[in-house]
């Protein structure tokens, strides 16, 4: 990558909140039916990071989820697999072994997820541990406290240091937008993270509410677009948390398509961080396939 000039983040553009909300409202009015709906639903499936991030996770739970990731609903042939599974660093080895022979990536959260309240050394060790165990992708959290105090250099350097620790693994940077209060802050941290080396920017940990919302995602998508025009580098987007219905997921895809274009409509550049979304999409696909409305009783529990 050519040497990029780091802009002054204090001069990052401000966000017109009303405009963003009106734009988002337009995305929710598109009607997508029949064959295009099926394609869209399958695309959603292929973009899911199937996630389990709980204190009560066990190796058994992770193995079960990995099986589900590769065999979403074998009753219907021709379905894609999900893009990745997302687990804690301690579960990376288990997930990697369970997914051997598939193209499904293993993503690991890192840097003292979800709070990010730890020392820089521990965060780097956390990241390296995950990478050494085979993680293909690292989902780090930023230090929200430092960001909100205005210590942008601290956050920038932290992201850059984790990026270095990632090696070949792709780095997703989680902002936890629910703690950032304003869309201006979301825009600012998006710019900052991308210039610091993020391969993906991600809304939320899923641990607090609100998690991903369409306005927040739109602000981030616009930041990605502007960054792409400025540097020529594509950055991925991952809304996470709170997207549990196919209808909403399809609206996100429309938003990506109309903000960034079709180049971003693949699992390489767009992901959904979700645990219950997959089943809802599967139920919609089954409805389109069999012609009758489905019941969750007939789909595996996540």
């Amino acid at each position: 990558m050519a040497k990029t000039i780091i802009p002054d983040f204090r001069k990052t553009p401000t966000v017109d909140q009303v405009g963003i909300e009106e734009r988002v409202a337009r995305f929710t009015t598109r009607s997508i039916k029949k064959a295009s709906k099926m394609e869209g639903l399958k695309m959603v499936l292929s973009m899911i990071d199937l996630t389990t991030l709980e204190g009560k996770d066990t190796e058994g739970k992770v193995k079960q989820m990995c099986y589900k990731a590769a065999h979403l609903h074998d009753v219907i042939p021709g379905l894609p697999t999900v893009a990745a599974v997302c687990v804690y660093p301690s579960m990376v080895k288990t997930a990697k072994a369970a997914l051997k022979g598939t193209n499904i990536k293993v993503a690991s959260v890192s840097t003292a997820f979800p709070s990010g309240q730890s020392t820089p050394e521990i965060k780097i060790l956390d990241t390296k541990f995950a990478v050494e165990n085979g993680a293909d992708e690292i989902d780090m959290v930023i230090s929200r406290g430092e960001f909100l105090s205005g210590n942008y250099n601290f956050v920038f350097e932290e992201i850059a240091a984790i990026k270095e620790a990632c090696g070949k693994a792709r780095l997703k940077v989680i902002f936890e937008t629910g703690e950032l209060s304003t869309l201006d802050n979301v825009r600012k941290i998006s710019d900052l993270a991308m210039y610091a080396g993020a391969d993906f920017i991600k809304t939320s940990t899923g641990k607090i509410s609100p998690a991903a919302t369409m306005p927040v995602t739109l602000v981030m998508l616009e930041a990605i677009r502007d960054y792409y025009y400025a540097t020529g580098r594509m950055v991925g987007m991952k809304p996470a948390g709170g997207i549990s219905t196919s209808k909403l997921a399809m609206q996100y895809l429309i938003m990506v398509n109309e903000t960034l274009g079709a180049a971003w409509l693949s699992s390489e550049w767009f992901r959904f961080g979700a645990s219950s979304l997959a089943n809802d999409v599967l139920m919609q696909i089954a409805k389109e396939t069999h012609g009758v409305y489905q019941s969750s009783d007939y789909f595996s529990k996540d």
Binding site: G291, V292, Y293, D297
Partner: protein, 256 residues
């Protein structure tokens, strides 16, 4: 609770009913009885309005008054049964092994109802009351030719402490909607109060998809007492039997 008018709203109604089921079925039976009684009170409070609406829809004023009063009485009747039918339909079963063995009714889940076509209010009340008295939630298709009281009845439900989603009233055509009622995989039972033979046949066939229970009540007379019995509650219950290991005390001979 809602009054959805379009065919594709059947799905939304079902989703609302499914999400309301957990809360409604786990309420104390006594509390369900209180709420049904409240519905009856609210019905009575708007008696004049219902009578006027029935007259508008072609009833004589005497027949209208009879229908509204019977509807109120029927709601009171089922409110009384809410915490009593369990005793009637439960059993402690004699078994040969050292088990305490008992059977209890549990609500089926989401019940799809196609209510009577010829009455605007009484058919609706007769169909809804036993379903919700037993802890089910329901999606109900009101009379197509006389939908007026259904809309007003939805207002009654809305002001009766009945939780949202327990009763979802749709207006529209049975010919269009019955397949969605009977082939929906997340509906547990279909109750049909009309006389269309082709629809009855189709409903029975579709219901086999997820082995829904089907009840065809096309022979009952809504005005007679025959159409209010606790058996309409128990039809929409599944019986759960529990085998509970016990000590064999003193080689007692009895089953429990």
């Amino acid at each position: 609770m809602g009054n959805f008018q379009e065919q594709n709203q059947e799905r939304n109604a079902e989703v609302a009913a499914r999400s309301a089921f957990g809360g409604w079925s786990s309420r104390a039976a006594f509390n369900r009885g209180q709420i049904l009684y409240r519905i009856a009170e609210m019905l009575e409070g708007r008696k004049d309005q219902f009578v006027a609406e029935l007259v508008l829809q072609g009833s004589t004023s005497v027949a209208a008054k009879t229908e509204v009063e019977l509807s109120i009485d029927r709601m009171v009747y089922y409110s009384g049964w809410c915490d009593k039918f369990q005793q009637v339909f439960s059993a402690v079963n004699p078994v040969a092994s050292s088990h305490f063995n008992f059977s209890v009714p549990e609500p089926m889940g989401v019940v799809a109802i196609i209510a009577d076509e010829n009455t605007s209010l009484l058919g609706l009340v007769t169909a809804i009351a036993p379903a919700i008295a037993g802890g089910n939630t329901c999606v109900v298709l009101a009379s197509e030719s006389k939908p007026l009281c259904a809309v007003t009845f939805a207002e009654v439900l809305n002001t009766s402490d009945l939780p949202g989603g327990v009763v979802n009233i749709l207006t529209g055509s049975s010919a269009e909607l019955h397949p969605y009622f009977s082939n929906h995989m997340d509906v547990n039972a279909v109750v049909y109060y009309r006389n269309d033979k082709a629809e009855i046949k189709a409903i029975k066939e579709n219901a086999s998809l997820n082995v829904k229970r089907v009840f065809i009540y096309n022979k009952i007379s809504l005005l007679s007492e025959q159409s209010q019995t606790p058996y309409y509650i128990s039809d929409l219950q599944e019986i759960k039997t529990t085998w509970h290991p016990i000590e064999n005390i003193g080689a007692a001979k009895s089953g429990y």
